[in-house]
Symmetry: C2
Subunit: 575 residues, 2 copies
């Protein structure tokens, strides 16, 4: 377990290493960031003001030999949603922070001076430096320059979007190849930008590393865990081969692939953008169809996608991005979508919010449906340079819709709804409505059970069972997000009993504790309640746990509507 | 009392005259619009969607011989604040609607077709006409053309801002001289624009007119009422001579004139923009320093302000506009401010929101502090043409601040805080925080008692007594707003007992009822509670009854801070 908290005060420009408070000792990842934010951030504060804090915490299993455990959580009050927020990512920084014996990095305050800073974290603690040299740079160039100067350090950074404090700005993180991963959702990059931090480097040389209470037990359980992952058809075959984009055809078949800003559930040109096509393009251009976002990943759902000339174009090219620009925005060229993905990583905006804001811009008449080249220009010129139009876009789908006075805005709590129609896959609608995070599929991924028949089956078109399904998955996900585990470990964990057992047994072996399955459930529940209570104290109510009005419209092919009453949705919180 | 409700359905493009439901019989103005909205509009609906309604209702005394009774209320769910909204104005439409025997006009639904309509109301009811000829026109030119075509009809209209569904768009109304008055606050123009109505004409020829149950009693009470108004120093002398802009020097002296986006309580160049200077400029240019916004006004706080060549430039040129651009935005030229006022009336945006959004644009670096010429260009070019920057601006101060990622945004419930600093005049801070309308001085104008010593005196710098003061004034104002009375009748009503008595005795004489002083108070309370309950059902909470974070800063010269706790503010609703 990490041995200290690094606290960085951007008002006084001082840093300090603190002992870990006893009540935080058993927490990691999302459990820890949410607990710190709930304790130290006034819920009604300005998200871009001096009272907000930005908290990074590796998970309970991060940097161990456990497969797929390399995720780092970032927590803050979100300028996009007004809620508490946790957003986790792969990359190299999380494992390095853990190996330095750091349980969390808490960044607070705001500089008085109008300038920029960088932070360096190593075995001796954290140092703050005034550093304006790289302002305006995209993440790719920044990582190249820092890589040349400092070698294999971990990097957390913001692109121009974060500098402009845009609500869709993410916190980017260097991956093992020097490319870009993201703490994508909720505008963490704007919070980092408001604190005037362009980047944070992490050097774990000379750190204490990770110690295990029971190395033999850990090794045995880690082996069971890894085997389950490889045995399960989703994590062992589907995702490694086709990446998350395998879902285009699956959702299209299910009639749940939102098309033309959620007007249709199927997309005529799905074949041009689906995972199978993407795989073939990658292979034909000598890219890599299966690549891990952090050391120790055995799913490798990421990829290296090259352009027609065989040059690197993007990675971490996810289903949600392809869906948003390709189906929901009717852009038929996978290369145009990949170019947008690259730009979004470079300027540092969440690719889901980025795709949906383009959809809403199409709805508002800012660009034509399907115009990939103009989408590229809007992102690369307008958003990158912070023009007035770029500011409107960079603040997300809700900003675009409100500024242009339209009402067909697919958001919950002002965060863009991702790639699964809540009318034809009703469980995910409950997740969008109720999660503490604003519309977010990962926080209770009912697609697993509604569509992929993992963990049983709940009919996606029926209301029955969806609230319970979403609740159970949200509780489990909160626990998984606290371990530093990739959410895709949920597939084997839902179907293979010894996989689930292995997770808490690895924690027991790591820390010398005695968690049971029941403890894991209680842990997940307590995280959700901490987050929900923060949101209520921030002024949110059950009226925020609702989908937009336009989901009363029928969506073909099933002519499904969103038919949950408020009371039915509110059942979610009865636990 | 009006005898019918005119209901206009913009989905079916049909109109109908309905009997007045019994429970609405004793209501008028704000009481009626708020009751209709609360009953018929789902609180969580999209403000710019098909479920919102736009309700116009003359007050209980509108179109009688009672002085200053010519106000018309407009009610709707606000796209700016998300709350219920009532915004009233003078002009000629209200009296004409009343004389047609119409108690309220309720506009509902939304056209399917992408076109524009106008509505004509006369003794035979309402007719809807597809009418795209004047789209893009400003209000001044529109009124000139319609005046030439249709003579002395009342006109309610939107400018380009309403067409663009901007949240600062007002509903404009023709005044007795063919100039422009406004239902200013809360974005009613965007609601009218969402229903694709460019303008509404009202012809009262052949209408039943206004009947009095007891004409002699009415005449006697109306005389007492009018005499009180003329006797009181504020309504009888200050306002008629200098208009509302008399307040620049008074607030500057009190240290409560917010300057440079609420950084200071006094403005160095107050003399250049104050009411006394404005009066002299008007007189020297042969304008008119004292002009009524509707027939029967005896205060005449409006004016005709000419340019340096003696040509009409603007009217209804209020203290709040002069303050916002002049003190809070540091623009020293009264002519530049008057030009902005003219443009805001022409494009149809609320002049308070319009001034403060320019202040926030200065804060964000969009234009330099004090740059009147650029403020003119932003309004006249960017907002008028709906450019991306114009859309950001036209959606109000909150939109500008959020889009540029800044936090010094003087709004409550996303509506701009007007011309009185809540730290150095604490009563008005309670009104800003608690009113159901978003930051609004008129809904509980404590300046009367805090500064002008009308209705007693409550020390503006002390917390003591402010909640009770604001509550009593908000209750009284809700009643006044329901009578069609100008809010300035409150000055004599607070100081001269027979003035207050005359108000309800005129209602008794008009309708043959027996209201008492207690009834008036209960009436006011019930209106506030109806509105508050709507807001709670829309998802607002007491967390929305708070001032922005930056008011924790001291403001010179008194170094006052906003020091009410949440609990103290929440006391407001304990009645």
């Amino acid at each position: 377990m990490g041995e200290k908290i690094i606290r960085i005060n951007m008002t006084t420009l001082t840093t300090v290493a603190e002992e870990v408070p006893a009540e935080w000792g058993a927490l990691g990842g999302r459990a820890l960031t949410s607990t710190v934010v709930a304790k130290e951030v006034p819920p009604t504060c300005e998200a871009l003001g001096k009272y907000n804090k930005l908290v990074f915490a590796p998970g309970l299993l991060t940097a161990t030999a456990c497969a797929n455990s390399g995720r780092l959580s970032a927590g803050f009050k979100s300028p996009l949603t007004g809620t508490i927020k946790e957003s986790n990512a792969g990359g190299t920084a999380g494992q390095k922070i853990e190996r330095l014996g750091i349980k969390a990095v808490i960044i607070e305050g705001m500089p008085e001076k109008d300038t920029w800073y960088s932070i360096h974290i190593d075995k001796d603690g954290a140092t703050i430096k005034e550093d304006t040299e790289y302002i305006g740079l995209g993440n790719y160039e920044l990582y190249k320059i820092i890589g040349e100067k400092m070698g294999k350090v971990g990097i957390l950074s913001i692109g121009p979007a974060g500098e402009f404090r845009m609500a869709s700005a993410n916190i980017s993180v260097k991956d093992p190849d020097g490319n870009v991963r993201s703490h994508g959702r909720g505008g963490g990059g704007a919070v980092m930008g408001s604190k005037k931090i362009k980047y944070i480097t992490v050097d774990d040389a000379g750190g204490p590393g990770v110690k295990l209470a029971d190395p033999d037990k850990f090794k045995a359980q880690a082996r069971i865990f890894a085997k389950s992952m490889l045995d399960h058809p989703v994590s062992g075959q589907g995702l490694p081969t086709y990446g998350t984009n395998i879902l285009v055809n699956i959702l299209n078949e299910a009639g749940g692939l939102p098309t033309k800003n959620f007007r249709f559930g199927r997309c005529d040109h799905a074949e041009k953008i689906c995972g199978e096509t993407m795989h073939d393009v990658i292979v034909s251009r000598k890219g890599n169809p299966s690549h891990g976002c952090h050391a120790g990943c055995i799913i490798k759902c990421s990829q290296l996608y090259n352009d027609a000339d065989g040059k690197y174009l993007t990675s971490g090219f996810e289903y949600e991005t392809v869906w948003g620009l390709g189906a929901n925005g009717l852009i038929e060229s996978l290369d145009d979508i990949a170019t947008c993905d690259h730009i979004m990583d470079d300027i540092g905006i969440d690719a889901i919010e980025g795709a949906v804001l383009i959809n809403v811009a199409m709805e508002a008449g800012i660009l034509p449906w399907g115009d990939g080249k103009e989408a590229i220009r809007l992102l690369d010129v307008e958003v990158r340079n912070g023009t007035p139009l770029g500011r409107i876009l960079g603040n997300g789908a809700g900003s675009v819709g409100r500024t242009y006075g339209i009402t067909r805005i697919p958001t919950v709590k002002n965060q863009a709804i991702p790639a699964y129609d809540p009318r034809s896959v009703k469980g995910i609608g409950i997740t969008y409505a109720t999660t503490t995070m604003g519309a977010d599929h990962t926080s209770g991924y009912t697609i697993a059970t509604n569509i992929l028949k993992v963990g049983g089956f709940v009919d996606p078109l029926s209301k029955e069972g969806q609230v319970v399904l979403s609740r159970n998955l949200q509780i489990a996900t909160a626990a998984v997000d606290s371990c530093g585990l990739c959410i895709f470990v949920a597939f084997p964990a839902l179907d293979i009993p010894e996989c689930f057992t292995a997770i808490y047994e690895m924690i027991n072996a790591r820390y010398g504790c005695n968690l049971t399955a029941e403890d894991v459930v209680e842990f997940g529940k307590s995280i959700l309640k901490t987050e929900h209570n923060f949101n209520l104290a921030a002024g949110l109510t059950n009226k925020d746990d609702r989908l937009p009005e336009f989901f009363e419209e029928e969506i073909p092919p099933h002519n499904a509507v969103w038919d949950f009453t408020g009371e039915e949705i509110d059942e979610f919180w009865n636990f």
